[in-house]
């Protein structure tokens, strides 16, 4: 049966992709951010997951407002990025695991989560930046796992509640663990933490709230479900709602987890950047 080894969180800011392309790892601005990643590389090299479930939020590449799924799961054999309007370079295609995607979709719909399935899905920086961060070299990296993208709507309100996000993760975890193949899986929760790009409050960052979220997501994620969506916007900023991805990831892990690595740094671009590696404790 499939096993979930752990979960990893990271911000997925587009500027990180540029910094990687320009090898800014030792640049004074970037070093406090990139220093969080080598210990995660070591862990991944040791445990060698076969599949990564990459939970992110599409930012207007894969989906438009004409049809906006609350929860969408990729079921393609491979995934491609696009230039997103900024002239981003094409990356090598990401190999999917369509058979496992369908198993997850079957399992979660049976569990009463109504999923949008996507046999084609253009993946944006929310998906690609974490892949670049965790598996440097991408296509040239022999350890890169097969990927299953999951996107939740944070573009347009109403967005899912924090409780729904955590429950989604629990159902996702059940579906993964019921997969008959003897494979190892890691789950990514990408995005966040606090930031706001739009309005007169642009540039808002909230260290205190972010640090509380990073603590509670380990010890007591249920307690975070009492935060309303409105409060989340107020405390984390309009785009800090990406914390929902962290909740979805956390739900898929075991109740108890060991934190093997964590980092928090302000600012990366306009964002409080949080990185965490949590190992499941069976």
């Amino acid at each position: 049966m499939a096993r979930i080894l752990g979960g990893i969180t990271t911000s997925h800011i587009p500027a990180v992709g540029n910094a990687i392309a320009n090898k800014m790892f030792d640049d004074p601005y970037w070093k406090p951010f990139f220093d969080a990643y080598p210990p995660i590389h070591e862990w991944l090299a040791k445990v060698k997951p076969d599949v990564v479930v990459n939970i992110y939020n599409d930012h207007g590449l894969g989906f438009f407002l004409d049809q906006m799924p609350t929860f969408a799961i990729g079921a393609a054999h491979e995934y491609h990025n696009e230039d997103e309007g900024w002239g981003l370079k094409p990356l090598p295609p990401f190999q999917g695991d369509a058979r496992m995607s369908w198993h997850i979709i079957e399992g979660m719909v049976a569990d009463e989560f109504d999923i949008t399935s996507c046999q084609e899905l253009a993946v944006d920086h929310g998906f690609t930046v974490p892949m670049q961060l965790f598996w440097p070299g991408l296509g040239d990296n022999p350890d890169i796992p097969r990927a299953i993208p999951i996107s939740a709507n944070t573009v347009q309100h109403p967005i899912p509640t924090l409780k729904r996000a955590l429950d989604f993760g629990k159902s996702l975890g059940k579906a993964i663990r019921s997969y008959p193949d003897d494979i190892k899986v890691v789950v990514l929760g990408t995005g966040g933490l606090s930031h706001q790009l739009d309005g007169e409050r642009a540039g808002f960052i909230n260290r205190e709230f972010d640090e509380m979220c990073m603590e509670k997501i380990v010890t007591d994620p249920e307690s975070l479900t009492s935060i309303s969506r409105h409060e989340l916007v107020e405390k984390a900023g309009a785009q800090g709602t990406e914390f929902l991805m962290w909740m979805m990831m956390r739900g898929a892990l075991t109740e108890k987890v060991n934190v093997l690595n964590q980092n928090y740094h302000i600012p990366i671009s306009n964002t409080g950047a949080g990185t965490m590696l949590m190992e499941c404790v069976d």
């Binding site: 207007g60 309007g85 309100h157 790009l197 409050r201 540039g203 409105h230």
Partner: protein
């Protein structure tokens, strides 16, 4: 939590919740910006902006906001920041440039403000 408990419309200063109301209001503008995912569309826009606004049926306020390259006006006209970012990309504006414009400071001052929050 019951639906009654959730107040969708308590204002958060300096923040526009992009909800169904805004999604209706800004549909044409956002659809145009979404098209800028493609390089050919960006070029078509640059060749003749007025024709491109007409193609997507933007209203007067939306056209004026785009012509002014004014993000707050675009948001007021129903723009969603994720799509507006693609409009900004045509003019090579970063999220710091956009943040500076919206908060009436220079880009350098805006970057300084971000750095200070790390102290």
């Amino acid at each position: 939590m019951s639906i009654e408990e959730f107040d969708h419309h308590t204002p958060i200063p300096g923040t526009t919740l992009f909800d169904g109301e805004m999604a209706m209001k800004g549909y044409a503008l956002n659809k145009m910006c979404y098209s800028f995912n493609g390089a050919a569309a960006r070029q078509e826009y640059l060749n003749d902006p007025m024709a491109y606004y007409a193609k997507f049926k933007l209203n007067e306020a939306q056209i004026q906001a785009c012509e002014n390259k004014n993000v707050l006006e675009m948001i007021a006209a129903g723009g969603n920041i994720y799509y507006l970012a693609k409009f900004a990309g045509i003019f090579k504006l970063s999220v710091q440039d956009i943040g500076a414009q919206q908060t009436s400071v220079t880009t350098e001052e805006f970057k300084e403000k971000l750095l200070r929050q790390g102290d």
